[in-house]
Symmetry: D2
Subunit: 362 residues, 4 copies
Amino acid sequence: MMERLFVIGNEAIGWGALMADCDAFFGYPITPQNEVAEWFSREFPRRGKVFFQATSETSAINLVYGAAAYGVRVMTSTSGPGWSLMQETMSHLANAELPAVVVLVQRGGPGMGTTRHSQMDYFTATRCGGHGGYKNIVLCPSSVQETHDLMQLAFYLADKYRNPVVVLTDALIGMTLETLELEKIDFGPLPEKDWTAKGRARNKDGQIHIVNSSQGLFPWPYPNYLAFLTHLDEKYKAMTDAELRYESYQVEDAELILVAYGYPSGVCREACDMARSQGLRVGLVRPITAWPFPYQVLREKARQGVKFLVVEDSLGLMVEDVQSCVMKQSEVHLLNMLARHSPGETGLLFPERVFEEIRRLL
Amino acid sequence: MMERLFVIGNEAIGWGALMADCDAFFGYPITPQNEVAEWFSREFPRRGKVFFQATSETSAINLVYGAAAYGVRVMTSTSGPGWSLMQETMSHLANAELPAVVVLVQRGGPGMGTTRHSQMDYFTATRCGGHGGYKNIVLCPSSVQETHDLMQLAFYLADKYRNPVVVLTDALIGMTLETLELEKIDFGPLPEKDWTAKGRARNKDGQIHIVNSSQGLFPWPYPNYLAFLTHLDEKYKAMTDAELRYESYQVEDAELILVAYGYPSGVCREACDMARSQGLRVGLVRPITAWPFPYQVLREKARQGVKFLVVEDSLGLMVEDVQSCVMKQSEVHLLNMLARHSPGETGLLFPERVFEEIRRLL
Amino acid sequence: MMERLFVIGNEAIGWGALMADCDAFFGYPITPQNEVAEWFSREFPRRGKVFFQATSETSAINLVYGAAAYGVRVMTSTSGPGWSLMQETMSHLANAELPAVVVLVQRGGPGMGTTRHSQMDYFTATRCGGHGGYKNIVLCPSSVQETHDLMQLAFYLADKYRNPVVVLTDALIGMTLETLELEKIDFGPLPEKDWTAKGRARNKDGQIHIVNSSQGLFPWPYPNYLAFLTHLDEKYKAMTDAELRYESYQVEDAELILVAYGYPSGVCREACDMARSQGLRVGLVRPITAWPFPYQVLREKARQGVKFLVVEDSLGLMVEDVQSCVMKQSEVHLLNMLARHSPGETGLLFPERVFEEIRRLL
Amino acid sequence: MMERLFVIGNEAIGWGALMADCDAFFGYPITPQNEVAEWFSREFPRRGKVFFQATSETSAINLVYGAAAYGVRVMTSTSGPGWSLMQETMSHLANAELPAVVVLVQRGGPGMGTTRHSQMDYFTATRCGGHGGYKNIVLCPSSVQETHDLMQLAFYLADKYRNPVVVLTDALIGMTLETLELEKIDFGPLPEKDWTAKGRARNKDGQIHIVNSSQGLFPWPYPNYLAFLTHLDEKYKAMTDAELRYESYQVEDAELILVAYGYPSGVCREACDMARSQGLRVGLVRPITAWPFPYQVLREKARQGVKFLVVEDSLGLMVEDVQSCVMKQSEVHLLNMLARHSPGETGLLFPERVFEEIRRLL
C-alpha cells in the first residue's frame, strides 16, 4: 500500500493515524488545529471508525480515557488552551497506564494569546503539566511526511509502554502543503492487550463491577503504591534509554551547532546551507523526541568547545535544556520570537535572520 | 502586633494570608489541604472577609481571576488533581497580569495517587503546567513559621510583578504542629493598582464594557502581541534576577552538599548535623524559590568538585535541575521516595536514611 | 418484514426506534431506563447507526438538538432527574422546531425518590417543564407491543410537526417481558426536510455561518416574534385537534369509568373484567395521548352522570385533568399510590385493590 | 419602621427580601431580572449579608439548597431559561423539604424567545417543571408594593411549610416605577428550625457525616418512602386548603368576569372601570396564588352563568385552569398575546384592547 497525496500537515496527522489503525478520535474545535478534527470528521465515519466532537476538551480527553480502557486505539488533538484543560486526565492516563495519542498543535500564549505559529508549550509537554510527576514521550515532526510517520510511531510507542504519547507540532507545519507518501510503517510486534476492560464480574460483595486492570487501583497488580511507582520509574527509565531520537545535520566539523525542532528546524537547515555555501562550519541538531531530550550529543559537542544557537519560536524554553547540557563549557545563544524583530512583526523565524545571527557569532 | 500561636502548617497559610491583608479565599476541598480551607471558612467571615467554597477547582481559580481583576488581594489553595484543573486559568492570570497567590499542598500522584506526603508537582509548578510559556515564582516553605512568612512574601511579589505566585508545600509541613510568631512583615511599598477593573464605560461603538486594563486585550497598553511578550520577557527576567532565594547551611568546607526543599530539607539538616558530629564535611543548600532556581551557587560548588545528594520525595524531579548545574564536573546522587525502601513502606524520607547515604558517598 | 421476539418494554423502545429508521441515540445512564441505552449500545453500532453515552443528560439532549438540526432521526431516553436536566433544551427544541423523540421511563420522586415504578412526571411531561409555554405530544404505551408501536408513531409525529414528542412510560412496562411482533408501521408520507442545516454560507458581512432554518432566528421565515408565535399557536392547535388518541373499553353502558394510563391501565382492565363478571357495569378510558388529553369523551360521560375512578401511581396528577372534565356534574375518585396501603408496602397498584374500590363506589 | 421609596418592581423584590430577614442571595445574570441581582449586589454586602454571583443558574440553585440546609433564609432570582436549568434542584428542594424563595421574572419563550414582557411560564411554575410530582406555592404580584409584600409572604410560607415558594412576576411589573412603603409584615410565629444541618457526627461505621435531617434520607424521620409521600401529600393538601389567595373586584353583579394575574391584571382593572363607566357589568378576579388556584370562586360564578374573559400575555395557559372551572356551564374567552394584534406589534396587552373585547362579548 503506497499512495501519494498533496496535503497539509494537519491532514497528515489524520493519514498517519489511519495508517496506525487508529479507530477513534474525540476532539473539540480550536485554532490552529481545526483541520485535524475536520479530517477525522470527513474520513473516519465513512470507514466505520468513530469521530466525535465532545462538549469540551475536558470531555474529549475523558472520552479518550474511556475508549483506551477498552483497548481502542484512540487519539485527540488540540491547541494550548485545550491542552491546559486536559492536564488532569493526562495524569490519570499515566496512572492507569492507558495508551493514547494526544496531538498538540501549538499556538501563541499565555491566555488567549494568538492563534498563529508558536512553540510556547515545550515545557508543559515535556515536563507534563498535570500533577504527580509522570512522563510522556514527546514527538516533534518537522515536515508533513514526518508528521505522518511520527503519528504511527506515537501509536506504536503508546501501546508499547501503555502510556500517553504527545505529538508536539505547530501551526506552520500544520498548514504547510507538501507531498505525502502514505505508507504503513511496521515497527514490529506489540504486547497483547490483556489488561483492557473486558466486561463485568461480581466482586466479593456480589456487586457488579467492570473488570479493568488499567484502573491502577491497588493492590492489583502491584502490592502497594511504592511498588507501583517503582514500576513507573523503571518504565520511564526504559523510555529515556530506548526512545531518544534526533537528527544531526553537518555537525561533524561544526564550530556552531543550531538546535531547533518543529518548523524552525527547517528554517535552520536552510540557514545552515547558506552558511556552508560561504564556508562557515555550521551544523544542526534537531530533537525528534523533545522528551527524552538529546542531552548526550550536545554535551559531547559542548566539551569540544562547539558553540550553540537555539532557534525557537517562544521566549526561550528548550534553550534551558540546551543550557543544562552546556553550562560554562561553551556558549549558548538564543534566537527567539522577539530577538531583534521590529515592533509589529509577527515573530516568525526565517532563514535569512538565522543566517545573520550565525555570521554575528562566527 | 506580635502573637504566639501553636498551629499546623496548613493553618499558618491562613495566618500568613491574614497578615498580608488577603481579603478573599476561594477553594474546593481536597486532601491534604483541607485544613487550609477550614481555617479560612472559620476565620475570614468573622473578619468581614470572603470565604467561598466553589463548585470545583476550575470554578475556584476563575473566581480568583475575577476578584484579582477588581484589585482584591485573593488566593486559593489546592492539591495535585485540583492544581491540574487550574492550569488553563493559571495561564490566563499570567496573560492578564493579575496578582494572585495559589497554594499547592503536594500529594502523591499521578492520577488519584495517594493523599499522603510527596513532592511530585515540582515540574508542573516550576515549569508551569498551563499553555503559553509563562512563568511564576515558586516559594517553598520548610517550617510552619516559614509558611507564614512566605505567604506574606507571596502576596507582596504577586502585587509587585502583577503575576500569580505559587506556594509549593507538602502534607508533612502542612500537618506539622509548631510555634508560630504571628507578625506582619513589611516588604516595602507596592505600586498603585491603577490597572484594576473599575466600572463601566462605552467603547467607540457605544457598547458598555468593563474598564479593565488587566485583560491583556490589545492594543492596550501594548501596540501588539510581540510588544506584550517583550514586556513579559523583561518581567520574567527581572523575577529571575531579583527574586532568587535559598538557604546555605555549612556549605563552606563541604565535600558533599545535600539539596532539598520542603519537609526533606529539615530531614537533611538533621542528617547534616549527624554527619558533622562524626566529622564528615556535609552541607545543605535549600532552595526557597524553586523558580527561579539557585543554579549559580550549585555550579560554583560543582566546579570545586563538590558532590551532591538530592533528597526528594518523588521519583526525582528537582534532581534534573541540579544535574543541569553540575553536568560531568561532579557527581549528583539521588535519594528518592523509592530508594532502598522495602515494599510496603510509605516512602517517607528520614534523617537516618539520609545519613546512611552520606556515609556511603563519602 | 415481520418477526416475533420475546422482550421487555425497555427493549421494545429500541426495536420500535429501529423500525422507525431512527439513526442516532444519545443518552446517559439512569435507573429504571438502563435497558434502553443498553439495547442501543448493543444493536445500533452493529447496524452502522450511532449510539453515544454523553457526559450528562444535559449533554445528551444537546447532542439530540445538534443531530436533529442536521435532519438526523434521533432520540434520547431518561428518567425523572435526567428529564429535569433536559428542560432548557426541550424548550429550545420546541423553539427551533426540531423533531426528536424523548422517552421518559418514570421513577419515583421528588428528588432522589426511588428507582421503582411510579407515574409522577405526568405534569412535567404534559405541561412541559421548560420555559416559554411550548407544547409536545405525550404518548403513553400500556404494553410491550404498544411501546414498539408508539415509538414509531412518535418519530412520525415529530417529523410531521417538527416538534419533540415525549413517550411517557414507566418501570413496570419497561421491565415486563412479552411477545413483540416486530413490524414497520406505515403512517403515510412525511414532508420534505427542506429546513435542515446543510452546510455553510457567507452572510452579508462575509462571515461563514451554518445555513439552518431551524434556529428560529428572526426574521427567517417569520417577520417577527409574534408571527412566529402565531405559527406555533396554530401548530399546537393542529396537534390538539388531530392527534388525540385514547382507548375505550366497555364504556357504553358503564356506571363507573376507570381512567388510567401506562401500567395501571392493564391493572384496571383486569379489575374491569372482575367487575363485569359480577355484573357491575364498569368501563375504562385509557388516554394514549396524555397531551392532548381526551377531555371530550370524559365530559360526555360526566354529563350522563357516570362516575369516575382515576387509578394513578402518584399522589394524583392526571386526576386533576379528569376533575377539570367533570366538575360538579359527577364524582371523581382517586386511587393513588398511597390510598389505603399499609406502611411498608411498595405502593404498587393491583387489580384486586382496584376491584375493591369499584365495589365500594357502586 | 416605615419608609417611602420610589423604586421599580425588580428592586421591590430586594426590599421585600430584606424586610423578610433574608440573609443570602445566589444568582446568575439574565434579562429581564438583572435589576434584582444588581440590587442584592449593592445592598446585601454592606449589611453583612451574602450576595454571590454563581457560575450558572444550576450552580445558583444548588447554593440555595446548601444554604437552606443550614437554616439560612435564602433566595435566588431568574428568568425562563435559567428557571429551566433549576428544575432538577427544585425537585430536590421539595424532597429535602428545604425552605427557599425563587423569583421568576417571566420573559418570552420558548427557547431564546425575547427578553420582553410575557407570561409564558405559568405551567412550569404552577405544575412544577421538575420530576416527581411535588408542589410549590406560586405568588403573583401585580404592583411594586405587592411585590414587596408577597416577597415577605413567600419567605414566611417557605418556612411554614418547609418548601420552596415561587414568586412569579414579569418584566413589566419588574420595570414599573412606583412608590413603595417599606414595612416589615408580621405573619405570626414560625416553627423552630430544629431540622437544619448543625455539624458533624460519627455514624455507626465511625465515618464522619453531616447531621442533617433535611436530606430526606430514609428512614429518618419516616419509616419508608410511602410514609414520606403520605406526609408530602398532607402538606400539599394543607397548602391547597390554607394558602389560596385572590382578589375580587366588582364581581358581585358582574355578567362578565375578567381573569388575569400580574401586569395584565392592572390592565384589566382599568378596562373594568371603562366598562363600568359605560354601564357594563364587568368584574375582575385576580389570582394572587396561581397555585393553589381559585377554582371555587370561578365555579360558583360559572354556575350562575357568568361569562369569563381571560387576559394573558401568552398563547393561553392559565386559561386552561379557568376552562376547567367552567366547562360547558358558561363561556370562557381568551385575549392572548396574539389576539388581533397586527404583525409587528409587541403583543403588549392594554386597557383599550381589553375594553374592546368586553364590548364584543356583552
